[in-house]
Symmetry: D2
Subunit: 368 residues, 4 copies
C-alpha cells in the first residue's frame, strides 16, 4: 500500500548490539514519523555467518553477506549503515562515499582526527549522519528548544557525566571496546564522545580543554575514565567526566546547565523527564520542576505515544532517523553529520593530548 | 527467510490509539521474543475509511475493511484482535469465538459481569488474552517474582493509585470514554481495572470491597473518580483510587506493598525501576532501593536492550504478546485471559454496587 | 538581659520522648521567634524519679516532682504542659484549667469525644494549645498559604498517609501506645489524628467517613492500621491511611491534594520541601516542582536559618510555640487548640464507629 | 542542678549568621550530648553595638563588648570562638592562643598558608577546632564508617560539588564574602573548602590538583566559581566544583564516591539520607538505596530524636561540639582542628596557583 514512497535500500555492516538498535529504527521510523521514504533492510554483512543468519531473520534483513565491500557497492543499495568497531568506520565510509551512497555511521566517527577529516571530506555532498542518538532524546530536544528560547539566559556552567560500571570486572570487559587497535580509545570515544557532542549541540563551541585520563586495570591499553575542564566560546565553563568505573550506574548520561535565568538537568536513566528551574519566577515558588517528556507542546508529541506514556532507548535512534529523512526530503543539512563527528574527534584528540601533556589544549574546532 | 514459522493472520477491529499500540506489538514481538509464530497484519477494520487507509499504511496492514463481521470470519484469519470501545467487545469476541479464532481483547473485557461471563464461556477452549498490558512491565514482573520468592513475607498492606488529569477539562474530555453507553463506566473501567488486575496478580483474591465513586462534572454519566477499601484473602488490607481528576499526573499507575519482610513500590511514570525495601537486612543499612529494570537476572533481560537502556509503554504490549505466543506454543494457559477479565469485571461490579449502596460488598470472585 | 520580658513559668507533666521535644521548644522558641514572653522551665513531674533527675538536668528544669497535682496548682506556675499517655490528659487538663493555667496538651487531645468535650469546656477562656506540631512544618504552612491564595482552584482529591513500621515486631512494640487503657486507640489516635488535623486545616470540614481498621497482632487491643474514605464539605473526596505496619518507613506523614489549578504534595521524611504542580502554566512546561522551604517569601524565613539550610523535627514544635506566644500577645485565638482537638476526636470516634458498623458515618463536627 | 559539671566560659567574636549557629550549638550541645562540661555564653564581641545587644539577648550571652582583645584575654574565659570574616581569624586566634585559651575558629581557617601555619603553630598544645561542621552531618559520618568498614572496596572516583546561587545578583552579593581583602577568596574559601575538608576526611590525601577559577562579574575581585581535577594518594581520581553561580540551588553540598564494592552519594539539601549502592549484592537486586539517617545503628542515634525524625543544619554544629567536648574529656585529638584547617589552606593555595599557572600543582600536604 506504500508503493508511492521512494524506496531506500540499506546495506548494513555489523550485527552486534548497536546493529540491532539500527535495524529496529529502520523498521520503526515509518510507524512514528511521516516520510516519503520507505526503508528496505536489504542486506546485512558480518563475519560470523552463524550468528548472522539468526540476526537477519530476527531483524528481517532480506539478504546476508560476509563481503561488505561488494554489498556496499551494489547499484541497488542507496544507503550504507556502519555498525562495526570504530577502527573499521573509515574504510567503509570512504568506499561507500566513493560509491555515491548515503552514509550513516555509528559514533564515534573515527579513531583519529586524520581519519575523521578524510571521512568528512569523502562524504562531502552526500547525505550523511553519525549515530549520536542521545541528542534526540525528547528531553534533550526540549532542553535545546528552551535554551534557544533564552530560558536559561546567559550560561555560566555546563556539567556532564557519563557513568557506567562496565569496565570494573576484567573477566567481563573483554570485547573490542577494550582494545586500542579496534576502539581507538576507551571511555573517551565510547562515552565521553556522547557528552561532547551534546555539549556542542546545547552550549556551542568549546575553545580549550584540560583533561586527565586514567586506566585502573593493569595492561589494559585504553582509558577507563577521563575527566576534564572546558572553556566554552559563550563564556561558560564546564566539567566533563566519563567512566567505566562508575559503580552504581549502568548507563547514566547526564548534564546540568546553570544560566542567569534558570537551570536544566537531564539523566538518561530517567529519560522521560527533564528538570527545569526557572529563576525568573517569583522567588517563593522557584524550584526544580520535573517536566515529563514528550509533553503537550513537544516537537515529538505526535510521533510516539502520548504524554505520560514512556518511550525508551530505541526511540532516540528512531527520532534520529525520522529527522534525517525529513532533512533528506527538504534538502536541508542534517545534524549530527560527519562534520559534527569530526568536531567531536578534534575534541577527543585535544583531550588526549591534554591528558598526556598535563596542560590546557586548544580545541581547534574551527580550523580545517 | 522465515518461511518455516507458523503463520498467524490477524484481523484487528479498531484504529484508534490502542490499535496503534497493538499493531506495533504485532510487528515487534518477533524482534524481541523468540517464537515459532510469524504474525501477519492481514486486515484492519474501522468505520472511518479516510483515517483507516492512513492507519493501515502507517502500521503495514495488508488490507482494510469496514465490515468487521466479514473480516473476522474469513477462513484465512487465525486471530481476532479487538481494539474498539468497551461496549463492542462482547459481540466481536463471541462471533470470533464462534468462528474458532484466537482472540485478543482490549481491557476492560466488557461492560458488565453478564457480558464478561458470556465472553469467557464463548472463548472456552480457544487461546485468549485480555490486554492488561501493564502487568508485563518489567518492574511488575520482578515484583511478582520477588513476592513469590517470599521476599515480602506476610503481606499487610496493598495500596494502588491510578492518576491522570484527562477528565478535568470538559471541552477536551469528549470521546467515547466519557459516555456510559460506549464505555460502560468511567475511571473504574478505564483506570481502576488495571489496578485491580495487577492486585489480583500480585496479591491474590479480593474478598470484599467498600467503594465510593464521584462524578465532578455535571451531566457526565460516568464516574470521574473512584476510591475503595479492600480485604484480601491473604489477610492483607488494601486501598485503591483511580481518577481522571488527578491533576499533576498523566499516567501514574502505582502500587505499594508492605509485608513483614519488605516493601515494594512501583510507578508507571518511572517504569524502568522498582523500589524495594528489604526489612531483613541489618537495620543500619536498611533503606528503599531503586532497582533498575530489566536488571541482569530479569526474565526479560535478553528480550529488549540491555540493563541501563530504558524501555517504554509499547514494550508492555510486546512482552504480553511474547508470553502469549510462548504459552500458545507450549499449550499452557496464558494470563491475563478472559477468565481473568471476568474476575476484574466482578470486582468492578461489586465496587459499583458498593458505591451505590454505601456498603461493603463481597466480590464473589470464585462463584460462577 | 531579658528582665523586661513577661515571665511564663511552666510545669510539665511527663518525661518521655515527647517531653524532650516540648522542653527543647521551651528553650529554643526565644532564639527563633520574637516574643515578649520568657519561658521558664520551672518544674517537671514524673513517676520514675531516677530518670527524672537526669531528664531535668539535661533539659534544664529547675525542679522535679512526683506529684503533678501539687505542681500544676502552684501559684507561681503560669502554664501546664501535658506530655503523658493519652488517658491521663483529661484529668490534668481539667485540673489545670480549674487552677486558671494556660494549657498545652500533647495530641491526641483525649481518648473519647466525651472527655475531649469536657476538656474543651474546661479550658474555655484560657489560652490553650494541642501539640499537633506537624501543621507547623514550613512546607505545610506554605501549602496552606497557597491553597488560600487559590493556587489549587477547586479541590477534587485529598489523600493522606501516615506510615511507620513500629508495630510489626511484638517484642519491641510494648509501650503504653500499644495498650488500649492508656492510649485509647492505636494507629488512629497516634498517627491518623495528625492526618485528620492537617486535613481539617488544609481542606476544611469532613462531613462523613467510611473506615476500616485492622489489628494484625493477636491479643493486641489497639488498631495497628486504619484506612478510610471521606467526603469533605467543599465537595472533594479523600482517602486516609495510617499504619504501624508500613514496612519501609519510619515516619512518613504525607498528603497529596489535587485541585482544578494544581497539585500539592508533602512528605515529612523530606520535610524541607513541598511539591507543587501548577496546572495554569503553559502546558509544555507544566511539571511537579520541588519547592525548598522555607524559601525567600516564607512566613518563617526569618525565624530559622536561611533558605537552603534544612530544619528538622524539633522546629515544628518551636514554630507551634512561637505562633502560640504571638497569639497570646495579641489576644487572638490560636489553632490548633482544644476545640480543634475535639473535632479530631469526633472524627476518630466516627471512624471507629464506621469501622465497627461497616458503614458510612457522619462526622457531626459542628454539633455540640 | 549541674553544679558538678566543669564550667567553660566562652568569649565569642562575631555576631553574624554563623555566630547564631555557634551560639545555638553552645546552648544545645548539653541537651543532645552527654558531657562533663557546662558551656557558659559569657561574652560576645562585635563592632555594631545596636545589633549586638539584640543578638546577645536572643542568644543569651551574659555580656557584650566591642573590644575583643580585652574579652579574649579575661582570666575567666576558657574558650575563644571566632565567628568573623576570614581575614580576622589569624590575629584573634594567635592572641587567644597566647592567652592559653581553647580555640574554636570558623572555616576556612585563614586567608593564606602562611597565616594558617602560624595559627596552627600558635595553638599547638591547646585544644582547638575548625568549624567544618558538615563533616558531622549524620550521613557523612555514616559514609565514613562504611568506607572504613571497606564497604566501598578500592576507591576509583571521588566527585564533589558545592552549588549555590548567591553570587548571581551583584546588587545582593555585597557583603564581606565578596571582598578579597576580608574573605581572602570567593567560592574557593567559602564553599570549596568544605568539599576539600570532607574529601580529605573520607578519601584521604590529595597529591596534586589542576584547577581553573572564574569570576563572572566584572570588577569583583574574588572567584565566583572554581573547578578542579585531583589525584588522591589512594589511586583514585576526583573532580571538584564550587560555585556561587549554580542557579537552581541554595546550599547543595554533594559528593559521590565509586569504589570496587559500591557507591555512596550525599547531598546536603537532602541531608537526612545517604545513598548507597552495594555492588556485592546479587546482581538482580543491586540498586541505589536511600538510607535514612540517623538510622538504628548510627553513632548519633541516641543523640538527637529518633530514626525517622529529621534533623537540620544546626545539628551539624551541635555534633561537632559534642564530639569536641568528648575528645577534650578523654584527652584525644579532635578533628578537624587547626592542622586540618592548614591542610585545606594548602590545597586552596595549590588550587589558586594551578588556576593562575594553568598547570598541575602538587599539594604538599605533608611538607611543613
Amino acid at each position: 500500500m506504500a508503493e508511492h514512497k521512494k524506496q531506500l535500500n540499506i546495506a548494513m555492516v555489523g550485527s552486534g548490539f548497536i546493529a540491532r538498535a539500527h535495524s529496529n529504527a529502520f523498521h520503526q521510523v515509518g510507524r512514528f514519523f511521516d516520510s516519503p521514504f520507505e526503508l528496505n533492510t536489504k542486506v546485512v554483512c558480518a563475519r560470523d555467518t552463524n550468528k548472522l543468519d539468526r540476526f537477519a531473520q530476527q531483524w528481517s534483513w532480506e539478504q546476508t553477506g560476509t563481503d561488505w565491500r561488494t554489498a556496499i557497492s551494489r547499484s541497488d543499495i542507496d544507503v550504507v549503515d556502519i555498525a562495526v568497531p570504530n577502527a573499521l568506520h573509515a574504510e567503509i565510509a570512504i568506499l561507500a562515499a566513493q560509491a555515491g551512497k548515503i552514509i550513516w555511521c555509528e559514533k564515534p566517527l573515527a579513531v583519529s582526527v586524520d581519519e575523521a577529516r578524510k571521512m568528512s571530506d569523502a562524504v562531502h555532498g552526500k547525505p550523511n549522519l553519525v549515530w549520536f542518538n542521545y541528542r534526540r532524546s525528547p528531553a534533550v530536544v526540549l532542553a535545546k528548544q528552551m535554551i534557544e528560547q533564552g530560558r536559561l539566559g546567559e550560561i555560566f556552567h555546563y556539567r556532564a557525566l557519563y557513568l557506567n560500571q562496565s569496565g570494573v570486572d576484567p573477566a567481563k570487559a573483554t570485547g573490542w571496546r577494550y582494545r586500542l587497535s579496534e576502539a581507538g580509545s576507551g571511555a573517551s570515544g565510547d562515552l565521553l564522545s556522547h557528552c561532547l557532542e551534546m555539549a556542542l549541540y546545547l552550549n556551542g563551541e568549546i575553545e580549550e580543554v584540560c583533561a586527565s585520563s586514567k586506566t585502573f586495570i593493569k595492561n589494559r591499553d585504553v582509558d577507563d575514565a577521563v575527566m576534564l575542564m572546558a572553556r566554552f566560546s559563550n563564556g561558560s565553563i564546564g566539567t566533563f567526566e566519563a567512566t567505566r568505573f562508575g559503580v552504581g550506574f549502568r548507563n547514566s548520561l547526564s548534564f546540568q546547565i546553570h544560566g542567569s535565568k534558570g537551570m536544566l538537568q537531564f539523566d538518561l536513566e530517567d529519560m522521560n523527564s527533564l528538570r527545569f528551574y526557572d529563576a525568573t519566577e517569583t522567588p517563593g515558588v522557584q524550584g526544580t520542576k520535573k517536566l515529563m517528556v514528550p509533553g503537550p507542546d513537544h516537537p515529538y508529541v505526535r510521533n510516539f505515544w502520548k504524554p505520560g506514556h514512556p518511550i525508551g532507548f530505541e526511540h532516540t535512534f528512531i527520532a534520529t532517523l525520522g529527522d534525517f529523512l525529513s532533512a533528506l526530503q527538504t534538502g536541508t543539512t542534517f545534524h549530527p553529520n560527519f562534520n559534527d563527528g569530526l568536531k567531536v574527534q578534534k575534541l577527543l584528540e585535544a583531550i588526549s593530548r591534554s591528558s598526556e601533556t598535563r596542560s590546557w589544549q586548544r580545541s581547534l574546532l574551527n580550523e580545517s
